[in-house]
Symmetry: C2
């Protein structure tokens, strides 16, 4: 079993969460909300979930600068250097490349004896081979990954997913850590599907080639239509793509280097600046130049060493009102009321969430979303929730950002 101090966690928390508008808002997206009235936000629940297996100082949250303060308030034992701020919105590949480069820099500094001061004093950016006194930063191909300081098993996860069976989740992550610490493997968690969900991507895996419940991945697929989703479900060869990845530092560094050099090379320009006061300026310069590419497209679908751990620990990406409705406790008429009180009359299948402490009286409507937050009330058929993005755009156009 890998040592805990070698375990790292990267939490992606940059989403704006417009699908849950107006419940989630640009100034307080979904991950920062106490979704289930438990007193903890989804982000806090995510951090807490990893605490038993990843030291808090090894956790990094990648987000937008505008959410940094809120994160520090929500996770008060996290140092601000652990909040990695993206200066632009660039999908998951640049996001993960940044976190990887940051962790790699910390490991390199320790492994090769660079202090933060020494890194900061370097002229310009710190290319491979940079020297100060008798110290040098090795070229990428010369890095000695066997040094103890270079051992880093990394789990990458979203900040806004729900996981019901947390201990089972952690056991799966630990198993994956152990696997990736011994193998040059890119691992992902695949959820056993329970319904023909069209809102998720799927992973087809090679059931006969597995060992110890870890299997090679055959293909990643985009979100299917309902017919295809039913075929996937019946075949038994497909898992939901959870977007939770596990690898070690060397494996993911090499994957970026060889599969996405247009992203990886940007970060290597300033390798030693990570963790210093020069990091922010460096990232502000190079990050916006990164292409907009997802980790799935850029790495997962191209790599030949991808493995999946089929799992089931009550996972949901909470991507839709429908999924939230499905997960929530219902009354006898299948109505859901979150955060607020509600009385229903001749009303079934509705999900209602108002600001804390408010009351809804709902008569004569079925299968609706009723959501109110910060001055905006949305009433919308559950079946039409994909239109919410359009509503947000319309509101933006009409009211110039007043209700974003």
């Amino acid at each position: 079993m890998a040592e805990s101090k070698n375990n790292y966690c990267v939490i992606m928390a940059g989403g704006v969460g417009s699908r849950f508008w107006p419940f989630s808002r640009e100034n307080k997206p979904k991950q920062f909300l106490d979704f289930f009235g438990t007193g903890r936000s989804l982000l806090q629940m995510t951090v807490d979930r990893f605490r038993p297996i990843v030291p808090i100082e090894n956790m990094f949250i990648v987000t937008n600068i505008s959410y940094k303060q809120m994160i520090l308030e929500q996770i008060p034992d996290m140092h601000e250097s652990q909040i990695l701020c993206e200066p632009a919105r660039r999908n998951t590949a640049p996001c993960i490349a940044y976190a990887t480069a940051h962790i790699r820099a910390l490991c390199l500094q320790r492994a090769y004896g660079w202090t933060k001061d020494e890194c900061t004093q370097l002229e310009g950016y710190t290319k491979e081979g940079s020297m100060k006194g008798n110290k040098s930063l090795p070229k990428f191909q010369d890095i000695d990954w066997s040094k103890p300081e270079m051992q880093a098993n990394i789990v990458v996860a979203a900040s806004d997913h729900l996981i019901l069976e947390e201990e089972k989740f952690r056991q799966t992550i630990l198993k994956a850590f152990d696997f990736v610490s011994k193998n040059k493997a890119i691992a992902t968690l695949g959820m056993h599907p329970t319904r023909p969900e069209t809102g998720y991507g799927y992973i087809q895996y090679l059931k006969d080639n597995g060992q110890d419940d870890i299997y090679p991945v055959k293909t990643f697929t985009e979100k299917p239509n309902l017919e295809m989703a039913k075929v996937f479900l019946e075949s038994g060869d497909f898992l939901w793509n959870s977007g939770i990845f596990i690898w070690n530092l060397q494996t993911i560094s090499e994957a970026f280097r060889y599969l996405l050099p247009e992203v990886a090379d940007r970060f290597r320009e300033g390798e030693l600046l990570m963790g210093t006061e020069k990091e922010e300026a460096f990232i502000e310069e190079i990050f916006p130049k990164c292409p907009n590419i997802s980790i799935d497209y850029g790495i997962m679908e191209k790599a030949d060493n991808v493995y999946v751990l089929p799992s089931s620990f009550g996972w949901s990406d909470l991507g839709t009102w429908g999924s939230l409705y499905e997960l929530s406790e219902k009354d006898a008429d299948k109505n859901v009321s979150l955060h607020s009180s509600a009385l229903f009359y001749e009303a079934t299948g509705n999900i209602v969430t108002l600001e804390h402490g408010k009351l809804a009286v709902v008569q004569g409507v079925d299968d609706m979303i009723v959501a109110e937050q910060q001055g905006v009330l949305l009433i919308c058929k559950k079946a039409e929730e994909q239109r919410i993005k359009q509503f947000v755009a319309d509101v933006q156009g009409r009211f110039e950002g007043k209700y974003n």
Copy 2:
């Protein structure tokens, strides 16, 4: 034409307005709300409507003590002695009897030379025949109504009705003032019906016995069912009962004395205390003893000198969401949005009112009421609005007054 200084106005403002819950609330009923976003409450609009024909010092508002401060804030040029507070809820007859007694006391004090101090110094309550020094209060039957100080033409109106053509309304009132100043007549305004409304009472009048567009009333009827309402409308003999009454002080005083002595006699016990510091204690003692009787049942239906002025000046009692919807400006899909912004998608015939400045996005519902105020959201079919009282009662029972 009657002199303006002899014109008085009594505005009834004690209603709790539960039909418009949650828009109107027990702590701020309908009459105190800026219903149409004009910047003036219905009460303010009512007072303003009378200003050109009634001196402000001759206006009296009958209400519950809990609304007194709000009224003084909304009508800052009104003295607090003009706010007559009912210590209990007792329908319109006691309400109007109180205002009548108050106005009569002021007139008597002036006509018979009693100062407020002298009235206050009287021992106990001031029955007819009370004396102080060489002054005496005449017995009711001995009052000299011909004294100039006893001339008072009084209009009684609700505080929460809408009147669109205000100048036309005032001309009608002035005409009625003139009529009642010359005749022992109880006058009421009847609205020419424009639809078979089942929410109003009707007045049948004797079309052939009128003079100068003032007609004797044949009968008052309760709210009819739809079939009956259609008959009324087609007959041309029926008018909507507006609940706006005009009479002079002598006529209404005598009507109460002879038709409702169980109410009138209570007030005559303390005739001279009105307008003094002893008024409140006196009213608190006698008012709750009054029976719960409406002016329609107690006076209008029993008197033989009732006249109606058929009118049409865009009147509504704003008694229902439906009537408010009918009166309000609609968009191309027949949706109404009051006080707040709203975007509608596949939605028709809805009326939406949120707290000022809020935004509603409404998709996929038709003919609904959507009303939000002070922490309560109501969603209800327009056709089911008569159930709102039940909802309020349910909420009261469930949440112990939190959302009244």
